[in-house]
Symmetry: C2
Subunit: 328 residues, 2 copies
């Protein structure tokens, strides 16, 4: 295992420490927790927004904390859900009395632990709502999931909910905006190489020298099939067709994200974007805005995902709103 | 070779095509060239700034084209200098009559080809000045270099020169600002794995499973020594000591960049930043601002570099100025 780390059991602790040192102008860490919050939390009159999940997906999720996006992100150990007590600390830190929205990726552990935290918070008198993101069209049910997995499309949910909350909209509206994105976003990924969780020291799976896996999850969970390595254009075509077949995108405007999984050079992501832009144009679908880069990674996995979000006026305005989150 | 590409001889062409499609609001490509320019170039009353180099270092250099930074970036083939005719096209496209500054990384091919382009431009009546960046303290002379190599510190030169040019300062002042950064910036890197140039299909070098190379260049050129893999803290200490020993940083303020080479997870870059921030504090050096991420990569190489720039009021103001370049 070749990693730039100190101790395998300190990677999350030291990463969070480095992260808040690097972004100390706007962010801070709640003492003795794995929670990163806006320095000015709770923001009076504003709904609080909390997300999080296992570490190893950086810049998700702490990179999306900032004005106009998340109020707090809770980090678990690598590829492990954060515990309910940590999520509860986040909720308490960002509630200004207007309530808190939890944005959860659909993994069994995350759903359970965020649920439990929500119940504990409600018991303390805080109103909590939840949105569970399940944008990955690759597979129903998987290693850690009942139903579809939540992947890179979650970042669009963060952005839109955050922008709407920033207008001091009530919790019901912020939740509805998040649901609107959730209902209109679809993603799918591909892996060319596995990644290694520091504590295990071994690759999460193996792929032959000339093999790739279509539909792999962001923790290396199995996808749809293993096939010989294909051209960028063909892979992009396969993923995009499956995405477009899953929702009504006809004549629509969309936001597109080409998300690198960790070890895929930006050069390759732009080669993919070129093909995706061409295919969408052929289909009469207009790209409103695009994001090409690393937004929800899987440590040093090689591969990428495509996300397509059908946008309406609310989503367009929210995507274009300002944020000072470090990674958006 | 596992890459998300179509044809090995089309990677730069298709990447540039995807890149300008993705950033068509502000950037365009000069027809039949590998030159990316601001859509509004030449900007009346403003000195033009041109940089570039081999491809494979994305987001360098096209990612730094935009208001407040570069006016044009010229892309060569992967790890290959752009040709003089391409650089000439860039110079002509951005000259508004106020002259053009070329920011060149110190590699023999780049220096020669940018020089030749400058002569051709001068023959056409355009005033051209040059700054050659050589921030890598690892080695004197190397595979492609006479003298020290130019690496990630070049991005700070782009930013500061771009911000000063944006004030409509004359060419002499823009050049002096770039020289000021060049004289005060030092960098050094480490590689944990090689990268593969698509056209060659083979890794640029090999490293044993438990080995790393201190001081490797951004094209996989040899560094100082190969040693068993060390802890993040120890690697960071080694690189930083060599950087600090090379310039007078005592009691100064600095800008710091922790630059991922391509396959190093953001988690690891923040673990490095944590140590660098701690060591600088111990030495009485104050961090004015920091950048942690991928700024000048080497395809899918695993590793990172540290850059430390001693800042004065001009540099601080220029680093903090707005830019719409996609990657800064």
């Amino acid at each position: 295992m070749k990693k730039v780390i100190n101790h395998t059991d300190a990677v999350v602790e030291e990463m969070l420490d480095g992260f808040v040192k690097a972004h100390s102008n706007t962010l801070k860490r709640l003492p003795d927790t794995t929670v990163v919050v806006r320095k000015d939390a709770p923001v009076s009159g504003k709904v609080g927004i909390v997300s999080g999940g296992g570490s190893g997906h950086e810049p998700a999720h702490a990179g999306y904390v900032g004005k106009g996006m998340l109020d707090a992100a809770v980090a678990g150990e690598v590829f492990t859900s954060p515990t309910p007590d940590q999520v509860l600390e986040a909720i308490k830190a960002v509630d200004s009395g207007e309530g808190v929205l939890l944005i959860i990726k659909n993994y069994t552990g995350d759903v359970m632990n965020f649920d439990m935290a929500a119940e504990l918070a409600e018991a303390e008198g805080i109103t909590v709502e939840k949105v569970i993101v399940n944008d990955d069209v690759a597979v129903e049910d998987s290693t850690f999931t009942s139903g579809r997995r939540g992947i890179a499309g979650t970042v669009f949910v963060h952005k839109v909910a955050g922008a709407v909350a920033d207008t001091n909209a009530p919790l019901s509206e912020v939740k509805a905006a998040a649901e609107n994105v959730k209902n209109n976003v679809r993603s799918m990924g591909v892996a060319l190489s596995p990644c290694t969780v520091p504590a295990s020291g071994k690759p999460s799976f193996t792929l032959e020298e000339d093999e790739m896996e279509i539909g792999t999850g962001i923790h290396g969970e199995p996808g749809i099939e293993r096939v010989p390595l294909q051209s960028a254009d063909r892979i992009a075509h396969t993923l995009l067709e499956k995405i477009l077949a899953d929702h009504d995108y006809d004549n629509s405007e969309v936001a597109v994200m080409i998300n690198g999984m960790g070890a895929t050079p930006e050069m390759e992501l732009y080669i993919v974007y070129r093909q995706v832009a061409g295919l969408l144009k052929e289909r009469g679908i207009t790209i409103y805005a695009n994001w090409v880069g690393e937004y929800m990674t899987s440590l040093e996995m090689a591969g990428f995902s495509i996300t397509v979000l059908k946008v309406d006026d609310q989503i367009k305005s929210a995507l274009s709103a300002k944020t000072d989150a470090p990674a958006f």
